[in-house]
Structures are given as C-alpha cells and as structure tokens.
Symmetry: D2
Subunit: 145 residues, 4 copies
C-alpha cells in the first residue's frame, strides 16, 4: 500500500534528462511541484487562491532521497500529501514511482512556511487550509502538531 | 573574423545536457539570454533599466540554426550584437562557438519588440537605446531601418 | 479550423514561468518537444524506435514566433504535424493555443535532419517514416519535396 | 568566517527565475552542481575523470534549507566542500550567499555514493579521491568516518 492517497501521473520529458541518460536530479523538484499543484486543486484550492489573499507559501526545506533513476518517456507516479501542519509550517511528504515496474524512484519531504505578505513574516497556517487538508487526508490538522 | 565584437564566455552545465549526451536544444536560448544581458550591461544599460521606465522588451521571434553540438563542461563563446533597429523592433544576431576547437555551434537571430506598458502596445524604440546601441556597434540606428 | 490535426494538451508548470510572470521563452521548446514525442507515438513510432536502428533525428533549425504569453497553470494545446519531407530533412510545423480563450500563443517550424550514425552524415529519410507520416497526415511523402 | 574555503561565483540568469520574481527553488540544485564541478576541478579532478575509470558518482540524498531568495542578475557565491567520506559515500556541504549584501540564501548537504559500474553496486570511495579531498580540505579522509 502507498503512503499517500493522492497521485499525479506524468511522463519524463526529453528535456528533463541529462548526459547520464536519466532524469537530472534537480528536475525531480519539478515533478513534486506539479504534483503539489494538482494536490491543492484536488483539495479544492487553486494554487493562486492558496497563496492569495495576502498569504504566500514559501518553501523552507526540501529533502529528497534518490532510490532509482527514471529515464526518458518513463511514466511516473508522484504521490503526495500533507503529513503535518505546525503553527506556520506545512509538511508535505512525497514518493515517486515508475508506473511500469513499480520501482520507488525518490521520496522526501517539503516544508513550506506561510508568510503574511504585509507583515513580511511567517504567520499561522490559515484555518481554511487546515480544514481542507484535514478533510482531504482524514486527519485533524486544526491545531499545530 | 567574427561577425560580432561582443562575446560572453560560459561553460556548459551538466543540467543543460540531455540523454543524447549533448546540450538540449532549448537550452541554447539560455546561452543567448545570458549573452544578451551581458551585452546590454556592456552597452551601459542594466536589463532592468532597459525594460524599465514604462517599457518592456518582448521577444517576438527567435530563429536558431544548429550546426554542431556542445557537451558537458565545454567552454562556449556567445557572440551577439544589434544588427538592425526598426521602428519598434530590435534585431539581435548571435553566433556560438566552442572555445577549444573554434567550431560554430549555433547561429541565429532574436527579434524583440518594445512595448509601452501603459498602452499595452508596441512603441518606437527609445532614442536612448538607439544612441547606446549605435555607439557600441559604431553604426547609426537613429532612424528605423 | 486548426492547421494541424494532432494536438497534445498540457498545463504550464510553475517552474516554466519567469520573473515577468509568464512562460520563459525558451520553455516553449519543451512544449513542442513534448508534442513531437506524442505525435510520433500517435503515428505508431516510439521516439526511441524513430531514432533507433542506426538513425538519429537531429534538430537543424527552429523558428518560433511569439504571439501571446502563457501563464502558470494555463492549459495549452500544442498542435503539430509533418509539413514537408525533403531528402534528408523532416519539417514539422506547430501552433500553440491557450485552451481557455483560444488565443494563439506561438507558432513556428522545426526542421530535423536524419543522420546515419555509422557514417556520421545526413542520409535519406527512411521509407518507413515517409509511409507512417504520409498515412497519418493523408499526404504523399514518398519522394523528397 | 565562511564554513567552506572553496567558492564559485555566478549570476542569476533570467531563465532561472519564476513568476514569484525570484529563483525557482529547484534551480538552486543547478548552482550547487556548478560549484561541485568547479570544486572537483580545483581539487585536481575533472568531473569526467572523477566518475570515469569504471566508477560513477550517484546523488543519494539532497537536503536544502531556503533562507532568502535570490533575484535576476544577483551575484551569488556558492561555497562547498567535502565534509565527510564514509565507506562508499561522500558528503558535500554547501552555503550560497548574495555577494552584494552577504545574505545567506540557502544551505544544505548532498550525499553521493560511489558506484562500481561493472558490479552495479556501491563500492569503497577510491583512495585517490580520499587523498585529493583530504589534501584540499586539510583533513584526513583515508578511513571511513
């Protein structure tokens, strides 16, 4: 069983490969970002909306473990989900698999911080986000964990 | 003799290569863009300034001929210069060479149009740009060619 | 009516935008490349196969006209098709549209040359490719045009 | 005082920015990769050579903390160095700064594993690499730490 219920499927583009014949390491962040956008949409939030209304999501930390390489045209599944919401931070976990052979390609974590644009400082994760994420993941994110 | 007097030197990054072992075609636009920024600076214009004050440079056309591939860590020279200034358009030519063996890698042309942001429409290339480019290239760009 | 019958639909990724708030110019080549891969697959050729068996497709020329910008999360349709097959060259035309408003974003042409790897030189476009492309486009590409 | 003695200086390219007006998060891996290549060269190893002779460096883990954003044309210093060599792993630390204001932009760690291509499995970090890195950093990396 997969760790996350949401997944986004995509294919490796030729422009994402490198001279070792596989996906260039930095490009896995693209895949995570694409999955995150789709995840927020599935949760009922346009990314624009999620970051709008005076708030901004800023990536604070990204950790990625490379397990196996993906190659051109490989179909890839990117699973992601909110794993924890702190006071001003949102933790997303992710796992990427090769669809054809089920191989785990990468896994990791992205920690975002919510910034209040006017104040220019981190602020409490909005309740609306806590509710939507809680509903989507079947967890209680109402208080900082 | 080279066609342009200005050049920017750079090295091919690993992230710019693809699974054929050479620079991915689309990445040559990065090299041209880097050279253009350096060219404007050499001419006495910060890119910010060039596009500032209510104006914007918008790329309207890009033509590139691929002659020979560049590989990881290859030193590359990007020659560029203004070749023509129309009423609202600026034509830049470029040629890229491998520094080690002198091979021509790509050549082409980029045509930018000057946009008046308030009007949201193309406008005459500012005289200041015509003067600076003319001085730098030793040509008269004062009238539309 | 559109100029080409084949299309690939995709969404603009955040990583493809630039500080002007729209897709960075060079990234439209990614979209064309993605469409080309899908086009070859639809025609009955894996890209791997198309370039395999001792042959290689090398991009010789790329021309792109920028008509309107695309922004993050915009749905984009990339239409493409073979327009001409010369002796050793294959011409693809393309047009990209914003799905939401039908706006033409870019249009252009990509010319590939078929290389015989052993000889290291251009060679006649294989008959198999001429047949498949002809069948797909409803044209006769059997002779060099 | 900086944590690492080696640095590579570069400027943020326009193509590396995103619609938030700053460097897209994934592109900091490009900067680290560029610095790593320069570091290996400074140490007396061509990257080609470092990965050659039957060995390959594979990125196993990348951790990055984002502290402050960089914008178009910002001059950036990327400091890096070997911090630890295990049996088959090499740990590189890095810190990136804005040259103009000294601000810390990102910091993190990259862990590479040495792969024996024939065996297709991890192998002991070659003594030649241990010696060169030890000499360059003024440390003893001869045994696994």
């Amino acid at each position: 069983m997969k760790r996350f219920k949401f997944k986004e499927t995509l294919r490796v583009r030729f422009s994402e490969t490198d001279a070792q014949g596989v996906v260039w390491n930095g490009n896995y962040l693209i895949y995570f970002d694409v999955a995150l956008t789709a995840y927020l949409r599935a949760m009922g939030l346009a990314y624009q909306e999620a970051v709008g209304e005076g708030y901004e999501f800023t990536l604070a930390r990204f950790v990625i473990d490379f397990k196996a390489p993906a190659a051109f045209d490989d179909p890839v599944e990117v699973y992601t989900g909110v794993t924890r919401i702190g006071n001003s931070s949102i933790h997303f976990g992710f796992e990427m698999f090769n669809v054809d052979n089920g191989l785990l390609l990468t896994q990791g974590e992205a920690i975002y911080v919510v910034i209040d644009r006017r104040a220019g400082a981190s602020t409490r994760v909005p309740d609306r986000f806590r509710e939507l994420a809680g509903k989507f993941e079947g967890k209680d994110f109402s208080a900082a964990a």
